[in-house]
Symmetry: C2
Subunit: 110 residues, 2 copies
Amino acid sequence: MNMKAYRCAVEVTIEVAGGKWKPLIIHYLLSGTKRFGELQRLIGGVTQRSLTLQLRELESHGMVNRVVYAEVPPRVEYSLTELGRTLAPTLVAMREWGENYMARREAEQQ
Amino acid sequence: MNMKAYRCAVEVTIEVAGGKWKPLIIHYLLSGTKRFGELQRLIGGVTQRSLTLQLRELESHGMVNRVVYAEVPPRVEYSLTELGRTLAPTLVAMREWGENYMARREAEQQ
DNA sequence: CTGTATCCTGGGCGATACTG
DNA sequence: CAGTATCGCCCAGGATACAG
């Protein structure tokens, strides 16, 4: 995995922050620390299993901090690391592009 | 597909320009028009089938122009539409982030 | 509430062969 | 050269049940 030769650094970004859920997770964490259930509600349509797996991957890549509070009921808070926060410009660019794209498509349909 | 309600415009960008190959295709097309085989060599590891499918999808979303020259041997050239070119900042941000990420990871390993 | 543990399915994708 | 046409594998991810 580490020895993989990349032709283009874009691939690295895709591996670390790409896929169906990771960009969304990061995007929502950009606005602050979130609990597990909060994230699940915000994202919508993601199963517990998938959200857990994606969060663990983000954690292992140093993108996300996971803090467990020894309480009942349990509380787990996720937040972006400094490294994770460096993705902000990219994610914002993606959101703005998506908004712009939708606007264009709507304008064309008439 | 069109009626799908998005919680966040980031999802739109992922659908139109996300996945394993599309960002790479767009990224390489940013530096100019490319022939099919050229793209395949640049990207590396993508099969004809997958490249074809991804290019068709990009075309259907208005991201890519496909021009067929009636020659023997055949020549097909792909280029970004104006809309496709609007992804440039995002793609560049992704590449730069990937480079930065690799540099950090290397620095940490010592 | 925040997870694991199983089971299962779709479809993304590669491998391969063939064609205009 | 730039594709189609098939086939088949794999595994991401959903559904569900259970646990600390």
